[in-house]
């Protein structure tokens, strides 16, 4: 029994006890492998579903298929697994920032199944975000199994996410960078090594099971100087597209919330609309990897008009799928929209300056992809590394950097917060480590309580009170009711200073007469930011803490500064 229990607490083994890096690396291997498997499973099932449903695509009623898929997925999530809809990455970030990465076990598989239903039937969403959430949940539960503490668990959750992304794209660096940039939000040496190992493990699993394929191969591009200048224009266009996508998604969410139908009806409605669009523009359906390949190889033959229409259509389709209750991520749609935008731009350039030897349109497709990813996620590094890894095209690095960076900056001006973080920031729930909000949320009133006030009763004479003042170290004296012990009010030394030296009053005044009953109080479970606001509004430097109508102690700004500094120093250490 004891042996079994010890096995489940490896953090307490003597080799690992004080330097847990080795432990984290070992667990990272396990987690990377598991999340890699999850990603491969989703990939395979998507391919299988796609092939199975392909036969039915030419029937007139094929537009219902996305509707059925979305409805099924919404039903599954709501009734069977009892989770909310949404793509889940904000949930991972929320749990990492607030609760040390604790996630429910059901999250490991629920999104995989639901997004398989949504995307496989034709919904316009990506499989990456569900896979990230599954990987993160797998990491979290393995960490729970081994009873790791918060900091270690956060690292392992990052490992899970990294393993998942690396596996699905066969791109270890992108997985690493995504996990650190977006999920964890901090580049710490202690995180990077396990996450890197997990990425490698995930990629290796994917290569073993699916072969070492570069997702999108391409022709060699010859970038001229004019092309680099033209990139700036592309960056602007992709920034515009990102903002459009974000805004449309949000408004769809808003509209669908107001609709009085049950969840699965709404999802079905969205799916129907997508299906209808898909009849005219089949590029809009599904996650779009196949059309992506064609576009990068420069083999996409539709004209400028159709391509421009396709950009907007895909944006609309994605918003409909995700905003109305379907389950999936925005990564893959971003890639498709980005490459469509790139194509549009290229065709436009050709139209305006036909004599200039622009580079092949496939290159612009690539650059568009990078621009859109960087703009949506505010993660330029992820965009750069992802494109390089999935295309193997290092020669585009210069324009790639320009597009990513400019796109991110532009989007940052218009939408100050990235897509994943937007929900959290709106609710005021984003807590990055080492920030003021985080420190205040970690500290609690209980930790700041000062219990060195001497409590007095309301019937005490001033004369006896003088003796108490002699012994006390503070200026505040709380008054309690003699019989019930309830907090009645506070006496501040300033208020009674003038009476203290008048001996005639010593026997004439009872404490109940000089106390201040209109006192603002703080409760034990109050939020510290709320407490600080109360102090600022009322210009107080200390306030009494009450629980169950009894006085517990004082809380003051001076102690808060002290504890705040300690907390900040501990949070931001190496």
């Amino acid at each position: 029994m004891r042996i079994l229990r010890r096995w489940r607490h490896p953090a307490s083994w003597s080799i690992f006890r004080l330097d847990d890096r080795l432990l984290l690396i070992l667990i990272a291997v396990i987690v990377g492998t598991c999340s890699g498997l999850a990603a491969v499973a989703l990939n395979r099932s998507l391919i299988a579903m796609f092939e199975w449903l392909h036969h039915f695509r030419h029937y007139w009623w094929s537009f219902i298929m996305p509707a059925i898929g979305a409805a099924l997925s919404a039903l599954f999530l709501d009734k069977m697994v009892k989770e909310g809809a949404g793509h889940g990455v904000p949930e991972v970030i929320y749990s990492v920032s607030r609760y040390g990465g604790l996630m429910r076990f059901r999250s490991s598989f629920s999104r995989l199944i639901s997004s398989c239903l949504t995307i496989g039937s034709g919904g316009s969403a990506g499989p990456e975000a569900p896979v990230v959430m599954s990987g993160a949940a797998i990491g979290s539960n393995i960490a729970k199994l081994f009873s790791l503490n918060d900091r270690q668990r956060v690292t392992i959750v990052g490992c899970g996410a990294a393993g998942a992304i690396s596996s699905i794209f066969n791109a270890p660096i992108a997985g690493m960078v995504f996990s650190i940039e977006v999920i964890l939000g901090e580049w710490k040496a202690v995180n990077i090594v396990p996450i890197a190992i997990a990425s490698v493990a995930g990629t290796e699993i994917s290569r073993i099971l699916q072969g070492n394929q570069i997702a999108f191969s391409h022709r060699l591009f010859h970038i001229g100087h004019l092309d680099i200048v033209a990139c700036i224009g592309l960056a602007i266009i992709s920034a515009v597209a990102s903002v459009l996508l974000t805004r449309l998604l949000r408004s769809m969410h808003g509209v669908s919330k107001k609709a009085p139908f049950p969840i699965w009806v709404r999802a079905a409605a969205g799916g129907c609309a997508v299906g209808i669009i898909g009849i005219f523009l089949p590029i809009v359906l599904g996650e779009g990897y196949h059309p992506l390949r064609t576009m990068i190889e420069g083999a996409y033959t539709q004209g400028l008009g159709i391509v421009t229409l396709a950009v907007f259509a895909k944006i609309l389709a994605t918003s409909l799928t995700l905003g109305w209750g379907g389950s999936g991520g925005i990564f893959a749609p971003c890639l498709v929209i980005g490459s469509l935008a790139g194509l549009t731009y290229h065709r436009g350039l050709l139209l305006l300056w036909p004599s200039v030897p622009w580079v092949n349109e496939g290159c612009f497709a690539l650059l568009g992809m990078a621009g859109l990813i960087s703009g949506m996620l505010h993660a330029p590094l992820t965009g750069i590394f992802l494109i390089i890894e999935i295309t193997g095209g290092y020669e585009v690095i210069l324009p790639l950097i320009i597009v990513s960076v400019i796109s991110t900056t532009l989007c940052h001006y218009i939408e100050p917060v990235s897509f994943y973080l937007k929900e959290l920031v709106e609710k005021g729930q984003l807590l990055r480590p080492g920030t003021d909000a985080r420190v205040l949320s970690d500290l609690s009133v209980q930790e700041l309580l000062e219990k060195d006030c001497i409590i007095v009763k309301q019937n005490m004479l001033l004369r006896d009170f003088i003796n108490i003042i002699k012994k006390s170290h503070r200026n505040y004296f709380p008054v309690e009711d003699e019989k019930t012990g309830r907090f009645l009010g506070m006496i501040h030394l300033d208020d009674i200073r003038s009476y203290l030296f008048n001996p005639l009053m010593y026997d004439a005044v009872v404490l109940g007469q000089i106390m201040d009953t209109d006192v603002k109080v703080v409760y034990l479970d109050d939020d510290l930011s709320e407490v600080l606001r109360k102090m600022d509004v009322n210009r107080l430097f200390s306030m009494p803490v009450i629980a169950n109508r009894k006085f517990l102690g004082m809380i003051s700004k001076a102690t808060l500064l002290d504890k705040y500094r300690n907390e900040l120093m501990v949070q931001t250490d190496l």
């Binding site: 040390g100 918060d150 900091r151």
Partner: protein, 262 residues
Amino acid sequence: MPFLAENHIVFICKGMHGCTSHILPSAFSLLSIYMKLNLNDMARCLDLPVSTVDRWIRQGRIPIHRSGNDCIFKESILEKWAFNHGLRFSLPNEERKKEQKFGLTNLLPAMQLGGVFHDIKGDDVESVLKSAVDKVPVPAINKQGLYERLLEREALTSTGIGKGVAIPHPRTPLPEETDNSLITTCFLEKPIDFEAVDDRAVFVMFILLSTSIKNHLHLLSRLAFCVRDDSFVEFLRTYPDTSSLLSKIADSENLLDKADHN
């Protein structure tokens, strides 16, 4: 913890209840010395609230491992960590030593040290002080220097506090010359005009020599408390001998202590 004991020498300190060290020799020696403390004691050593330490252990921010209510850590690592983060860490026995230093002397031991002397000769302030200073039983003191300092203080304002009592003292404490504070009680042969606050002649002097200002104020306040009582002053006027004076002082101090602790 059998697993642990096989490979390391374990030094287990049982916190505030005294140190019992068990050194288990083994083939693979030294290198890891783990200490174990209860969570509450740990919080006390770090001078932090229990909930903060508990939270930091849960979040992995402090290098302590926890099993149940026990904290296991390596002293050197924890000290380094505390230093890097501006926190104090001191083991239980060290804390106890710090608390002992700052005691205050009370009237009774101070008067016992200083001695009680009768029939001090002199016609005026200077001569009376001179004879009194000669009686002070501290060989290390420079008598002439002390006399001048007492005079200096008298020149500022008279130390006659009324009802015939005076409390000459140097303006600054004398920590080098005396280890303990003392009060030398001198009953004068005949009452002298001290220019006291109530213009009454002084018949008894309490020479206060303190090691610190805090001690001085403490003794002064206690003495003032005694003198406020008219019956005490009447008692003094009977020129009591050493033992009865000291017992009277002891009684007054007991009353004071009781009043303080209420």
